[in-house]
């Protein structure tokens, strides 16, 4: 691989991965915020007002980092992937332009009102701003996923005489069949991230004997919503996503399951390390016939292995793809169990005193972040060697005149700046948590 290509890929992978740590929280939290602001409006209860305001503050912090790290991604389509932009801009330009017009303005205009407008605009306007914020952030997710879905499963395009692609049905692009499972799976994951964080913070406050009333609200909301989300992650959204991969991208499916050879009655590999040299799995732990059943509802269904496909179409980093997928599924399973357990204890009225379970909830906070990142790595590494599945190879998409010296310079710059950003975010979140929901921190006013 020429080194400029390597740096282009690393830079996009790194900046996109880092960016998505923030929107996954804000998109999920937007839903929970709408719930809290609605409760506050309906009950006029000061407690829910405080809860809503506190989580709006956390939302705003994560949103700010999401905005500043999101802008580079739109620029990078052009700066680093000029040939791809030129080739496919006639299609994905639609969804990216629509995201700007329909989603970003909604979010940014109404976040200002939600944060600073309480005195000026009144409660009903606050609630309306929360609604618009939810709408904006989910629309943003929809449009960007429509873009990615098209790269995974290109539809609704024609090839122009000069070889470039143009959209031929806007409706077809926006209702890409790939999008349904991708959107539901991804947005549920965002809700899971937000509710896990909420439950974890509730557990932290209870365990440390602070803000007990708030802690209970966070735990109740986080655990109930989190259990629903965690369950939906597996079935039907995860299941649907996996089936659609096996239907349309069978190489990706074979690679992330670690299936080297085409077989009938294939087992589901729980753990094990893929050995690329011998094309086998070391130390496998397998549930017999399970993969055939999960994918095709049939005990002896044939599942195509990597050997069924030409090697130049294999994803170029098989082990990483395999681990990403297994980490996602593994952590998903753990999260369902923890959340389910917590819900059971909540229902029995014992959650708030079960310290071991509160510890478990608290320590689980990072897991949805890791699972979501691993899930996106599965989708994107699995799409390789294609940039647009079946149409444009990644090696043909980069900017022709950006050489490796420039690309490495900016990659290093991003690494350094984002390290600082990450530390800043953690520090400020810790400060916000330390001040707590009822504390009068300096950040309550504008500027």
């Amino acid at each position: 691989m020429p080194s400029a290509m390597l740096y282009d890929r690393l830079q996009f992978a790194f900046t996109a991965t880092f960016h998505y740590l923030f929107p996954q929280l804000t998109m999920g939290l937007a839903l929970l915020l709408l719930y809290f602001w609605s409760r506050a409006l309906a009950s006029g209860d000061d407690h829910y007002h405080q809860v809503a305001r506190f989580w709006t503050k956390i939302f705003a912090l994560s949103f700010a980092f999401g905005v500043v790290t999101g802008i580079p991604l739109e620029f990078e389509f052009g700066t680093n992937w000029a040939k791809f932009s030129n080739f496919a801009g006639g299609v994905i330009g639609q969804t990216l332009a629509m995201e700007g017009m329909f989603a970003f303005f909604l979010e940014s205009s109404f976040l200002g009102i939600l944060l600073f407008g309480e005195k000026r605009c009144g409660q009903l306007m606050q609630w309306f701003a929360a609604l618009m914020l939810f709408l904006g952030s989910w629309l943003s997710g929809y449009f960007i996923l429509a873009t990615n879905a098209w790269m995974q499963h290109p539809v609704a395009y024609t090839v122009a005489p000069d070889g470039r692609l143009f959209v031929d049905s806007l409706f077809g692009l926006l209702t890409n069949p790939w999008l349904f499972w991708q959107f539901t799976h991804n947005m549920t994951a965002a809700v899971l991230t937000a509710s896990s964080l909420m439950a974890a913070l509730g557990a932290f406050y209870l365990l440390s004997g602070q803000h007990a009333a708030h802690a209970r609200t966070y735990l109740r909301t986080g655990v109930v919503v989190g259990t629903i989300a965690a369950a939906l992650m597996g079935f039907p959204t995860g299941h649907g996503s996996a089936r659609q991969v096996f239907e349309h991208q069978p190489i990706k499916g074979a690679a992330f399951e670690g299936l080297f050879k085409t077989e009938r009655g294939v087992g589901l590999l729980l753990i094990g390390q893929p050995n690329i040299e011998t094309m086998t799995i070391d130390n496998p732990l397998i549930i017999p016939d399970a993969l055939s059943v999960v994918v095709y509802d049939e005990l002896y269904a044939e599942v195509k292995g990597l050997d069924a496909f030409p090697r130049e179409n294999w994803p170029d980093n098989l082990p990483l793809l395999y681990y990403s997928y297994h980490v996602m599924v593994g952590l998903g399973t753990i999260l369902v169990s923890v959340m389910g357990l917590a819900l059971l204890w909540l229902w029995r009225g014992r959650l708030f005193t079960a310290n071991w379970l509160l510890w478990l909830l608290m320590l689980s906070a990072p897991l949805p972040y890791i699972a979501t990142t691993a899930g996106w790595m599965t989708a994107e590494i699995g799409r390789q060697p294609w940039l647009i599945y079946g149409l444009l190879r990644t090696s043909d998409g980069a900017s022709p005149l950006v050489h490796s010296g420039n690309a490495l310079f900016t990659l290093l710059g991003f690494l350094g700046i984002y390290l600082v950003l990450g530390l800043l975010f953690l520090f400020l979140i810790a400060e916000t948590i330390r001040h707590g929901p009822s504390g009068h921190s300096v950040s309550s006013g504008p500027a």
């Binding site: 620029f75 680093n80 990216l96 329909f102 970003f104 605009c121 806007l170 950006v402």
Partner: protein
């Protein structure tokens, strides 16, 4: 026809961006000199706190619309200005964080750090955006495939193989930064009272005087650097409306400034920025990226287009989307109209 419509739409979004985020930048440039006390600084920042982010979205939308309508120009331009654009991104990060994070910690050093970051990033961004405009006017060395890669600087001359920075683009950068400082100071004067307003008025008057000189120089330089602009205006003299309107706006701004009419001066500088960009677009049309080496390599509204169906499909959502964003923006700006209440 369709291509021309989208050319105008992208220009409009960019021009509105320049006006709205322009006062954020301008305010950033004068910020540390105008607001000397902590209370004044808070008031200054509060005047843009709830709205700066929405203002910045116009840039993202303009970029998105350029990508949608003229993907080839987007690809060529963004990869060609690679280093400059990535530096813009880093500066946007610094400015955004400065505005959002300054209030999060009650410590003098923390606030001092973000104050410097805010002023520094705002000043550099204003310079770079002005230089970018200069590059669009002067042109870039496009090859036959429609790509180029511009060095940050070469010999600082506007020859066939220029860098991003040369004497002309630097002149444009300094001119833009000064115009934005004038614009931002007018905005601040409009939004505040008392001593802070007095300081803002002084900064506005100072930068306004420099603007008058620089705009004069830029107007002489543009036709000298880019002859195709001269031809465009000669062929369609109605286009002179824009630069003349711009001149009128500048004179009005200075006169209203002299009379201490803050809001009027702010609207006049807004008009100045709008007409400045409209003049550039008029002179450049139908080129989006002008080639310095061979006019045949220029990327135009026809050879960089996204195809007929796509552009027509855009007509379904653009009017709706545009009406909505105007509505949101009016809503957001109205919610925080009038003087800043500390």
């Amino acid at each position: 026809m369709m291509e021309t419509f989208w050319y105008c739409a992208v220009t409009l979004l960019l021009a509105v961006y320049a006006v709205l985020d322009g006062f954020d930048f301008g305010l950033g440039i004068v910020y540390r000199f105008v607001a000397r006390t902590e209370a004044d600084r808070r008031t200054t920042l509060a005047s843009i706190g709830p709205i700066w982010n929405g203002n910045e979205v116009w840039l993202i939308s303009a970029g998105g619309l350029l990508f949608f309508a003229f993907p080839k120009a987007y690809a060529a331009g963004f990869s060609g200005f690679y280093l400059a654009l990535i530096i813009v991104l880093w500066l946007l990060i610094a400015r955004g964080l400065a505005l959002e994070l300054r209030s999060h910690l009650d410590h003098t050093l923390w606030r001092q750090f973000w104050d410097v970051a805010f002023t520094g990033a705002s000043t550099l961004l204003a310079l770079v955006f002005g230089a970018a405009l200069g590059n669009l006017i002067r042109g870039v060395p496009l090859n036959h495939d429609g790509y180029f890669f511009a060095a940050l600087w070469t010999d600082f001359m506007t020859g066939p193989d220029p860098g991003i920075l040369d004497w002309f683009t630097i002149l444009m950068g300094v001119t833009s930064a000064t115009i934005l400082a004038f614009h931002g100071a007018n905005y601040l004067a409009m939004k505040t009272e008392g001593q802070l307003r007095g300081q803002a008025r002084r900064a506005a008057w100072l930068s306004g005087s420099v603007v008058a000189v620089l705009v004069g120089l830029a107007l002489i330089a543009v036709p000298f650097v880019q002859s195709s602009f001269r031809l465009n205006y000669a062929a369609h003299p109605i286009g002179y409306t824009f630069p003349f309107l711009g001149m009128a706006a500048l004179v009005t701004a200075l006169e209203l400034r002299r009379r201490s009419c803050d809001a009027g001066a702010f609207y006049a500088t807004s008009l100045l920025i709008l007409t400045m960009l409209a003049s550039t677009a008029w002179g450049s049309y139908p080129n989006i990226l002008i080639a310095t080496n061979d006019p045949a390599n220029s990327l135009t509204v026809t050879n960089a287009t996204a195809g007929t169906y796509g552009m027509q499909a855009g007509l379904w959502w653009f009017p709706i989307g545009f009406s909505l964003i105007v509505a949101y923006q009016v809503c957001a700006h109205r919610a925080f109209r009038g003087k800043v209440r500390p």
